[in-house]
């Protein structure tokens, strides 16, 4: 980070708007019946429509429209009852029609907002002027085919929702926070698989800087095709420094499209012709206006799941969870469902269920690189364990041992924790007389430590506790041990 001198940066304000390309999780393409499955052999999923043979006509996929409606409702936007597909004209070999079918003046969704936890400004409302449907182009492979370029049109015609923000974001941190929230939301409502490696979720960032206090927007540059949150952060940070240095050295920012090079950690200008931005949009005569009826919108509304933002608020309100925990638990629907199921099966032990879901369970999932949906320890099994902590059958420490055993598959069924506790003899010793005997034995066996304690060395007390716990194989109730030891040492 060569020149990120805070004094310099503080004189400048960063302004960012994002355009996110969200590939919709339909089985078939937006205008043809070809499959959208990723990874097929080249051109085996490119139909006559996708390769633009003469005489073909596009027919819109209802599933793509339905996903757009779902998104519009989820962000509180307006579902336009009538929207229009337009041709965006440009020439490139992976776009065989010579135009991309998109939406221009009349997009399917206008308005709406996404609530984002800004690292510096708290709860931030990011406004979305529009979201429109369009098709994806094919792919050009520039490896050497005897000096030629290879074209794969499998991806051509994959449905995409382009979601545009106002320039509401003020730092790369906020841009990433928004992108993560949106990424969570589109998966939550089931319109996109969110797979960034496969290009299902890509962002373009419009970045400009202005003197702090100014309300005039600076000239912006657009950084294309950011397909990871880390690259987004790096690319924006680089671009902000580049623009500030340029202006402070007396230069001016030129509006242009730039590409981020993750290997060199820099953005660079794309060599695009000056005419490239003149797309000469016009309504596509092959496609009459898309009309969406009230009944369709109402049905989609009725099928929407509880949204992450509402669920976060409910977790804080009903379960008294810290906001940060509620936010982490609602990162995905599967994780939230796991927590809710565990908390309710454990008889409302929400706080401890949250701690275990975010602690032991998440750590074990990360260690083994598996998804919560395939967790070897089910939510009811976790609940079975939490109940035994709550009723004093086992201590928190022993519970971790039981959890590991459940994870390893040592017992089946919802009562797996009980089975393991019994089989391994882990039940906590809470019998007063039994603990007194163990404590008395420990005192008798360790006269030197007892003497130290009596001479005023407080640490010796903890050492004796350790001996007692070891003698009970960790099963003695710690609170009782503490009280009895104090009493016996008088």
């Amino acid at each position: 980070m060569s020149t990120s001198n805070p004094a310099t940066v503080n004189r400048w304000e960063t302004v960012i708007g994002l355009e996110t390309h969200v590939q919709l999780s339909t089985a078939a393409k937006i205008f043809s019946g070809a499959s959208t499955a990723f990874g097929a052999a080249p051109n085996t999923q490119a139909s006559a429509v996708d390769i633009a043979l003469p005489g073909v006509l596009p027919v819109l996929n209802r599933g793509a429209v339905e996903r757009a409606i779902r998104f519009g409702l989820a962000v509180g936007g307006n579902i336009n009852r009538r929207s229009v597909f337009a041709r965006k004209n440009y020439f490139y070999p992976d776009l065989p029609k010579g135009y991309q079918i998109s939406q221009y003046e009349f997009p399917v969704v206008t308005g709406g907002e996404v609530g984002v936890a800004s690292p510096t400004r708290g709860d931030l409302r990011v406004h979305l002027p529009r979201a429109h449907l369009e098709e994806v182009a094919g792919m050009s492979l520039h490896e050497d085919f005897h000096g030629m370029t290879g074209i794969d049109l499998n991806r051509a015609g994959t449905p995409l929702l382009e979601i545009v923000t106002e320039p509401d974001l003020r730092s790369s941190d906020e841009a990433v926070a928004y992108a993560r929230t949106l990424h969570g939301l589109v998966r939550w409502i089931g319109i996109c698989d969110g797979n960034m490696q496969e290009g299902s979720f890509r962002c373009d960032a419009n970045v400009s800087v202005r003197r702090t206090g100014s309300d005039v927007l600076g000239t912006r540059c657009e950084i294309k095709n950011l397909n990871s949150f880390r690259f987004m952060q790096e690319a924006i940070d680089f671009e902000v420094r580049r623009q500030i240095e340029l202006i402070e050295d007396g230069g001016t920012v030129v509006q242009e499209t730039r590409l981020y090079d993750p290997d060199r950690h820099e953005t660079r200008s794309m060599r695009s012709k000056e005419d490239a931005q003149d797309y000469r949009y016009f309504p596509d005569p092959d496609l009459p206006p898309l009309v969406i009826g009230e009944d369709w919108i109402e049905r989609v509304r009725s099928e929407l799941p509880e949204l992450p933002e509402a669920m976060r608020a409910r977790f804080v309100r009903d379960h008294a969870l810290p906001a940060a925990d509620a936010a982490t638990l609602t990162a995905s629907r599967e994780l939230a469902a796991y927590f809710e199921s565990a908390a309710s099966a454990a008889g409302g032990e929400a706080k401890i269920a949250a701690n275990w879901t975010l602690g032991e369970v998440s750590a074990a999932l990360n260690r083994n690189d598996i998804d919560i949906a395939r967790s070897p320890v089910s939510a009811p099994q976790l609940a079975g364990l939490l109940k035994r902590i709550a009723d004093g059958t086992i201590s928190g420490k022993i519970a971790k041992e039981v959890f590991d055993a459940m994870w390893a598959g040592e017992a089946d069924g919802d009562a797996a924790a009980d089975t393991i506790i019994d089989r391994r003899g882990l039940r906590q010793i809470s019998d007063q007389g039994a603990i007194e005997r163990i404590v008395a034995d420990a005192i008798a066996a360790n006269p030197a430590i007892v003497a130290e304690y009596k001479a005023g060395k407080e640490k010796a007390f903890n050492s004796l506790i350790g001996r007692v716990m070891a003698a009970s194989k960790g099963r003695a109730n710690p609170a009782q041990v503490n009280a009895i030891l104090k009493q016996l040492l008088g």
């Binding site: 051109n43 490119a46 819109l60 209802r62 050009s140 049109l153």
Partner: protein, 95 residues
């Protein structure tokens, strides 16, 4: 803003149409006549009228989200000038 011959050349370039000076002058005249007609049309008061996106008053038909196509790339590629490993080959383009 009047359309110039330079605009005609630019539009032709965007559309990848090769055009010489004589043809450009001819097209320029025709386009100016079209713009004159559009100017006449613009005298009509269209306030409150939804812009027309299609000549026919029809709604877009929709298809169900189902895969109905089979792999026919061998057939499609039989007329392609150059193919390798299932890819269409085109003159090298580098962005």
């Amino acid at each position: 803003m009047a359309l110039t011959v330079a605009d005609v050349h630019r539009i032709a370039q965007l559309a990848r149409i090769e055009i010489d000076a004589a043809a450009a002058a001819q097209v320029h005249g025709k386009l100016l006549a079209i713009f004159a007609m559009i100017n006449e049309l613009q005298a009509v008061d269209t306030r409150g009228i939804v812009p027309m996106a299609h000549a026919q008053d029809v709604m877009l038909p929709l298809r169900d989200d189902a895969v109905t196509e089979i792999d026919q790339h061998a057939l499609y590629q039989s007329v392609a000038p150059a193919v390798e490993d299932g890819l269409y080959l085109v003159p090298r383009v580098v962005e």
